[in-house]
């Protein structure tokens, strides 16, 4: 009996040892056989946190059902996405549908790794121009976004009301309001001036609204915006700590009541709403002189079709993107994720459903993409911008010299 068992065990082990071989054989076969079959698509995005994860998952499943495919989704951490994309492209295993953060699109499109959406006759009409710019490389649209985000000025209603103040609309008002709201351990305003792209992104609304441009950084308009930052920090209305604060830190300061106002994006709203005692409002980012149009940068992710070499799957992937960026999906994603639909015609319907998002929806209409002017040169300009901010706020350079000094790297 014992011996018999032993034999069986050996047999079982031998079988078990064979399993990997059988599996790899199957894997290889399936890969080769799926050449013409487009019933399963792979997809990669970076929404690995709630509530984004579930909202995106639901809409992906809806669209998959619509176009009759099964979608295998992989959600990777945001920081790892580009490295993952590069790895997968060198091993020729790019997913059929790829989400990219919009400022990265041109960089990836320039490598030849993405297919222009016009190849598959995807309708790109009706989208906000800024969002289309973000998805365009050398005249071809490579990516579309269902929703977008941007920056605005959040304010603590209780603190402003107690001081008898209204949310500021100009830089002068911003400075005086912030100073008036500064007392004890409470600062008037918080923003992110950190030495990463986040710091550069938060500076853009001030720079662009004032007529500045990333193509000519050393301009008077840009220097005036830098001066505003310096005035706010020097007067003590903004903490010196901002040069090491990311946008998450800024939100924490605002929620803890240590900042009466903050520059931030609508993706923080779910977190803000978790504290029912916090009453907040939001307005567009203040302008330098009355009459200027608030121009903020456009955030959000674009969905693309990588060059996988499988035409049938690419066509299905393009069909998926059309579905994923259609009006219904835009409204559904926008209401769940506090992001703004990218088709301006949906604005009214959206604001009716999401009154909190009114100022951001307005802001999106005039928002600009970061890569629209510079394309793949944008990262260099962004580095110069955040370095200039750091130089000025730490007193290592004057406002006049900061951009020149920062550009030297």
């Amino acid at each position: 009996m014992k011996n018999h068992n032993k034999k069986r065990l050996t047999k079982a082990l031998a079988m078990a040892a064979l399993v990997p071989f059988v599996l790899t054989a199957c894997g290889g076969g399936a890969g080769a056989g799926s050449g013409g079959d487009a019933s399963t698509l792979t997809l990669m995005d970076y929404y690995n946190n709630e509530p984004d994860n579930l909202a995106i998952k639901k809409e992906i499943e809806n669209c998959a059902a619509d176009i009759g495919v099964t979608i295998e989704r992989e959600a990777v951490p945001g920081k790892d996405l580009i490295q993952k994309v590069l790895q997968k492209s060198s091993s020729k295993t790019l997913p059929d549908i790829l989400m990219l953060d919009n400022p990265d699109l041109q960089e990836i499109a320039a490598t030849g790794g993405l297919a222009p959406l016009s190849d598959f006759n995807v309708d790109t009409s009706g989208f906000a121009q800024g969002m289309l710019d973000a998805g365009t490389y050398e005249g071809e649209v490579y990516g579309l976004a269902p929703t977008a985000n941007t920056l605005g000025l959040f304010y603590n209603k209780k603190l402003l009301a107690a001081a008898g103040l209204k949310p500021p609309t100009t830089w002068d008002e911003l400075k005086s309001t912030a100073s008036a709201l500064t007392k004890g351990s409470q600062y008037g305003l918080a923003f992110s001036g950190i030495a990463t792209y986040e710091g550069a992104w938060q500076f853009l609304p001030f720079m662009w609204t004032n007529g500045g441009s990333e193509t000519e950084l050393n301009s008077t308009a840009n220097k005036e915006a830098l001066q505003l930052y310096k005035d706010l920090v020097d007067s003590g209305a903004t903490s010196k700590g901002v040069i090491n604060w990311g946008q998450g830190d800024v939100k924490d300061q605002f929620m803890a009541g240590k900042a009466a106002m903050m520059i931030n994006g609508p993706w923080q709203i779910p977190a803000l709403n978790e504290d029912p005692s916090l009453e907040w409002g939001s307005v567009q980012v203040p302008v330098n002189k009355a009459g200027q149009t608030p121009t903020a940068p456009l955030g959000g992710e674009v969905w693309t079709v990588p060059q996988t070499g499988n035409k049938a799957k690419q066509a299905k992937a393009a069909e998926f993107i059309s579905c994923f960026t259609k009006g219904d999906t835009q409204i559904a994603l926008g209401t769940q994720r506090y992001t703004v639909p990218t088709k301006p015609e949906l604005a009214k319907e959206y604001i009716a459903k999401m009154p909190d998002m009114a100022s951001f929806t307005e802001q999106i209409a005039n928002a600009r993409s970061r890569t629209g002017n510079l394309g793949t040169e944008w990262p260099k300009a962004a580095t110069t911008i955040y370095t200039a901010i750091q130089l000025v706020l730490t007193g290592k350079a004057s406002v006049d010299d900061a951009f020149t000094q920062a550009a030297k790297g």
Partner: protein, 322 residues
Amino acid sequence: MTSLSTDTPAVSRTLSASRAEAPAPRPRQSFWARENIAKILFVVPAGIYMLLYFGYPVVKNLVMSMQDYTTKTFFTGEAPWVGFQNYVTVITSNLFGPALLNTALFTVASIVGQFAIGLALACFFNRKFPLSRFLRAMLLLPWLLPLIVASATWRSILDQDSGILNQFLGTVGIPAIPWLTSPDVALIAVILVNIWVGIPFNVTLLYGGLQDIPAELYEAGQLDGATGWKAFRHITWPNLRPVVSVVLILGVVYTIKVLDIILGLTNGGPANSTQTIAVRSYQESFVNFEFGVGAAFSNILIIISLVFAVIYLRANRRAVDE
């Protein structure tokens, strides 16, 4: 598997057959004697491992530093040869000098701090007292904590306005120090955190070294009047020297490449005051996607580490000879 087991006797049969035919083998043949083959077979796995996991990355990195290696390369596989252009870019960049200086300051200050505190704690724990084992185990905690977690925690501790360190200093009457927000202080703050991270490593090795010093030496020394500082100077230190050289040189090699702590605390800021060669290498490669330039930075780092590794090997050999 089965095919292997049937083959082996056949091989040994032919081997023994050839031996029978040639009873006096020439010296060259003896190289293939069983014993030697066995020796070689023991070395081969280690050799393959070294080639795959050390040789390949080093060679690849060297080649990459001579290429224009960008995001495009991953798709097309094309990386144009540019010779030493990347090294020229690195050395002429404005940040190279400050980064090199910061790397040196960071490494030297970290090592001095870690070693001094580590040695003091090791001597302290070398005396037996209640709970000494437990406390020594607790000292290992910073080592067990993932560095990203540790640096995120330190970042909030060191915050200028609400950080607990400044709150504490405030109660003693010391005004708030801009730990991570002043270019003059940030490097010091980063070094302090790195010292905290490195203490367990130093304590562990030095404590091991202290345990190896025979108690008889101290007893004999006591008879001659060597106690306290004198005992340390004439008994502990000379006996500890081999361990000390290992600790210091490994410390240099580990510290010079520190990246995660700096990225987590300051990301090279404020105003580039905490840029080191390792941070530059990371940012060029994974932020600017200039993999060739990033590789050039890391090769410079490797060469510096290599110098210390050679010093370590030589010091080690001398220690064995003694």
